[in-house]
Amino acid sequence: MAEDIKPRIRVPQSAKKDEIIEIKTLISHPMESGQRKDSQGKTIPRKIINKMTVAFNGKQVFEAKLEPAISANPYLSFFLKCTQSGSLEFAWTDDDGSTYKATQAITVA
């Protein structure tokens, strides 16, 4: 099902120096809690995004640890103060070890 998982990000393309901008992220993901059982009574294995990190020019600026109670298609947003142009790198880590990545450049004038 990995091909169904698509990250979406929304970052302003440009910002003024020292401006505080809002970054929005959403990833389509089932966030299977590991608590549910299928029709045969077998436990459906846990499969969640357990970690999400954001780095700006290689330096980490945001990290979130996600838990099984978080609903499907987790949406996370945060604020960032911009001091220089660069690129934001987003990474979501899945329980199965795969990571989903997205990057976006931002110009600070």
Binding site: D4, R8, Y75
Partner: protein, 283 residues
Amino acid sequence: MPHSRILPAAAALMLMSGLAACDNKQTAGSNENEVLAQYRANPKFADRIVGDKFSGYVFASPETQTMQDDDFENPGMLAVQDGETEWSTVAGSAGKSCASCHGDAAKSMKGVAVTYPKFEPKRGKLANIEHRINLCRTEQMKAPELKWESKPLLGLTAYVEYQSRGLPISVKVDGAAQPFFEEGKKFYYTRRGQMDIACNQCHEANAGMSIGVENLSQGQSNGYPTYRLKWQSFGSLHRRFEGCNEEVRAQPFPRGSDEYTNLELFVAWRGNGLKSEAPSVRR
């Protein structure tokens, strides 16, 4: 007997069925209670109320409304994205995709979804968007039907519905559609299940009232297909019908069945004039 003393049996029955006792105070319109009047007074909802019809949006919590308002936050848009990909994906032995005949959906599908369900001569009965898509697949594309509630069918339905977002629902219930409309109407007003409740008892008589912790809406379909928070996924109107039927402890009909399609026409007609909000977010 003083008016305030409701028959205990009747009161118990109302509690059992999860219906909060309604004080029947009418303020405006023939069937408008205080809650609905409050919604009407809120300028935020001006666009979502047409005559005595209230979109499901106004009954949602502010958080849910915010989620729907921003296309980025709205998880229903993920389904629209899926549909966009599916639209130009070639399938079947005819080597066609939706786009081969219909071109740019933003043009060809604009205003289409709000007229469905409608009578489809090829079926000899009503077809909704899902049926129509599958008809195109079997007739034109020579491809197998998509499974009801499958990701590609939900996506395509969402994508087609999305092209009519903001346009008023305008289904026709005369002519060939009329007998099916009557069937749908009959379904709507028929008590069913162990609870012995008909659709109208919640959605007409008690819209705006509470059912447990839920806010009863008018049961309008202008936001469907929808991303439903309870489901944690995107789903069809028929899936919602199924939920309602289960709620009154009735045996649900299959998704895509004639019963639900007829009901879909009646429910759409109830909302004629309301603006389409698909894909919406509902609790």
